[in-house]
């Protein structure tokens, strides 16, 4: 063996090596996160900000945060994703990022003339104690009478929670900064959570077919999935307008997809145990807008709940189109049931997504053997068990897992199929298990932004794909290349 460079054995690490004051049980077995199954909070907040009309997000931190997040999102959405950075220097880190924050705001206004600027913080700016809200107030004061964009902030230190906490923190932030009280309207608020642009379009179609007036927040169905352009657009079209968000306070009710949202324990948090508020909860407690929370509408049971809620809240009948979609979906369940029954699936990704997929697989006879997420809400197990009545006790549910833990588990337990984002492809490849790509991110295929998951129609696509993947796998591995199933 080579001699290490440092021969200094008298290392002194000082008193900071005493065990941490809490959670030392976890720390003592700590092995590092290996191929994280989660992203950092500013990414989620940036996506949410992209769902407001005319909004340019600024990440208040180092240049790398914005660039990495842009690159990650662009690889999925295959769209220009402009996110500005306040580009922290060493000086800003020592003396505060106020000047950088102001410069960034000024330059974004000059370049983009945005309606809204959404500022999301980072581990760096949070730790040095930057007060972004104060910086905005100073900027506004210094600007005098000049017409300025609307400002929204999200506190998103990346050492707290995952990208989903960031996403919901931003959604709540948007609502808090814009919603107004008003005469009770007929409209509904829809908080879809982190779903695909195609899903957002799907939800809009459903509500339009119902004849329901709605506010969808965030709505990046256009901004992150644009048609071709005649000329380059600095800010893409689409997004929820400020005027609409204002009306959230006077809605008939809110419908919120996802039952975990940002209400987790934020493992590793020390300062406070105050849990964050979801947009729906905030509107309920502040404006008395009834909040209907439900899992993502994937699968017949969850979709029924969504459609029944729409019917109940609006007093309108479910359009025939959806009754037929539902009927066809169940018809296909019957056609395909034998090919999938008892197959063992491993599912992974964001917690609310995992809950939604688990409930769907549970109702079609696929056995979820492992449901894992990098998120650490502490609620995943309770929620999954709540929505999986079929094989409740045999599901292994893991909060705070990474892809290498999933990899090791799969190596040992040999599941039949992986269902989730493209990052687990390497596991599927290594173990020769089929993978169905859905959720976020899809980095190794085109069309991730157009995957439909929600509603009877979305479920139909997932069902066909999963079933055909299993049928195809068997066919590819059979000795005879048979022509009928």
């Amino acid at each position: 063996m080579e001699t290490p460079i440092s021969k200094n054995k008298s290392t002194h690490l000082g008193s900071s090596f005493s065990p941490p004051s809490e959670g030392s049980g976890e720390a003592s077995s700590f092995k590092s996160t290996r191929n994280a199954c989660k992203l950092c909070a500013p990414l989620g907040a940036s996506v949410a900000f992209k769902g407001i009309r005319g909004c340019v997000p600024i990440i208040h931190g180092g240049q790398g945060c914005a660039t990495y997040i842009r690159r990650y999102l662009i690889s999925h959405y295959k769209e220009p994703v402009d996110i500005a950075s306040s580009n922290f220097s060493e000086e800003a880190t020592i003396f505060g990022g106020g000047a950088n924050c102001h410069a960034a705001i000024g330059n974004v206004i000059k370049q983009y003339q945005p309606e809204v600027i959404g500022i999301t913080t980072t581990c760096l700016s949070e730790t040095i104690g930057d007060d972004v809200k104060q910086y905005i107030r100073t900027f506004q004061e210094l600007s005098g009478d000049k017409q300025l964009p609307h400002f929204v902030t999200a506190s998103t230190p990346s050492y707290q929670g995952s990208h989903m906490d960031g996403f919901h923190e931003a959604v709540t932030g948007i609502v808090k900064s814009m919603a107004e009280t008003g005469e009770l309207g007929e409209h509904l608020n829809i908080f879809p959570g982190f779903v695909s642009p195609e899903d957002l379009r799907q939800i809009k179609t459903i509500l339009e077919d119902f004849g329901i007036d709605y506010i969808l927040l965030p709505d990046y169905s256009e901004t992150l999935d644009n048609p071709i352009w005649d000329a380059y657009k600095r800010i893409p079209d689409g997004g929820t307008p400020i005027e609409s968000v204002k009306k959230c306070g006077s809605a008939r009710a809110s419908i919120e997809f996802g039952t975990i949202l940002n209400k987790g324990s934020l493992a590793g948090r020390v300062k406070t145990n105050v849990q964050a508020t979801s947009a729906g909860d905030y509107l309920e407690s502040t404006f008395g807008v009834e909040n209907r929370r439900m899992p993502m509408p994937i699968g017949v049971s969850s979709c029924d709940k969504f459609f029944e809620t729409l019917k109940e809240v609006s007093g309108k009948e479910i359009p025939l189109k959806y009754k037929k979609e539902r009927g066809r979906l169940i018809d296909s369940y019957v056609d395909g049931h034998k090919y999938i029954f008892g197959k063992k699936a491993v599912i992974f990704g964001e917690e609310d997504f995992v809950v939604g997929i688990a409930a769907f697989l549970n109702e079609i006879g696929i056995e979820v053997v492992l449901a894992a997420s990098g998120g650490e809400s502490g609620h995943l197990e309770t929620e999954i068990k709540k929505y999986c009545p079929e094989n409740t006790d045999s599901i292994l549910v893991k909060n705070g897992w990474d892809y290498e833990l999933i990899h090791e588990w799969c190596t040992e337990n040999k599941p039949d199929i992986l269902i989730g984002n493209s990052k687990a492809y390497y596991i599927a490849r290594d173990l020769n298990i089929p993978i169905v790509r859905c959720g976020f991110p899809i980095h190794d295929r085109i069309g991730g932004q157009r995957i439909k998951h929600l509603g009877y129609a979305g479920t139909q696509e997932l069902f066909d794909q999963i079933t055909n993947t299993l049928i195809g796998y068997k066919q590819d591995h059979s000795e005879v290349g048979y022509k009928y199933m």
Partner: protein, 443 residues
Amino acid sequence: MNEILKERKGQIVTKGQDDVAIACGKASLAGSVSQRACVFCGSRVVLYPIADALHLIHGPVGCAAYTWDIRGSLSSGPQLHRLSFTTDLKEREVVFGGEPKLYQALIALIDQYKPKAAFVYGTCIVGVIGDDMEAVCRRVSAEKGIDVIPVMSEGFNGTKKDGYKLACDALSKLIGTDNKTEVPEHSINILGDFNLAGELWMLAEYYRRMGVNMVACMTGDGRIDDVRKAHNAKLNVVQCSGSMIYLAKDMKEKYGIPFMKVSYFGIEDMSDALYEVARFFKSDEMMEKARQLVKEEISTLLPALQEYRKDLEGKKAAIYVGGAFKAISLVKALRLLGMKTVVVGSQTGNQDDYNLLKDLCDEGTIIVDDSNPNELSEFVKQTGANLFIGGVKERPIAYKLGLGFCDHNHERKEALAGYEGMLNFAKEVHASVCSPVWKFMKR
């Protein structure tokens, strides 16, 4: 034309119109949506291809998640570099310190993966909370008997270029630690090739055919033991000079090893890279072999390129890449295809690079440092380019504007270096520029 931020005007020149030197090497302007990343990124991408080392990122989850398997750097052996390890710091560590977690992570990972050495990358937060990473690395190194090298790459502490320098410093610590190995007389190191899509293997084969031995590549298909003996080489051949020039200068100073800058993109530059090495070793035999090799390669390549050139003649290209040296080669390579460069820029070029570019390009070519999507889209529109050469972040800009795109960044899956690479390059450019899909877009 839309407004260009006034602070950025010095970083944009048009050949034939502006007679001033371009401003470069500056920190990115806040709010300008720079295409650059950070110090950490610079260090991470340079050291990443060392396949038998453990790469542990000390910080919250994001920095590791976004750089997981980010480069298409291939390894002929171990694949450890393709895993993304992070201490995944939480608020608890931000308050009480992350050293215990770092220590435990290192011990557990070294026990499990048995790497030849470990690199520990410090991120923004580590610089702020003041973890003594160096002390933890020393302790683990002593306990485990392998080198554990801290790379203090806090993102805010400069630009991506400063990260390159830190990576070079880390390599420099390893170089010279193996004095037992003897190397053949005509031995070189290849610096600044990252073995994207197996490019290094092609280059090493060219040199082998000339009778030149490669001691170490830094860092494509890299191995710790090769790095240790790199000081035994007679010459450093440096590509991607932006990232590796610091190491080349350092090795010249410490070990008296001269270096030369080369590029492997395009026929001209690729051939020069071979001839220059033969010239350095003052060997007629080697030069003859190099000539023979070039002749063989070109005799099959040129006729193949003609096919593509027919369709591409007169088309216009915009280039925006990480390093300016690559941009220079691309301008030449495009000429070989009959194409004209109308916009060229880089994230990290220096004054010399930009002067070279200015000399090389035609009148009216826009030259830009540290650009952003607004400017790039504006330049493309102004110049009527048909092709954009860049990375992931530039691709949607090109596509939305209706022009072809060639991915020349570190994620690419096609080898573009060498003679074979030139043909791939022509194919890729041709496939994109000549696709019938553009007819549906208004331009």
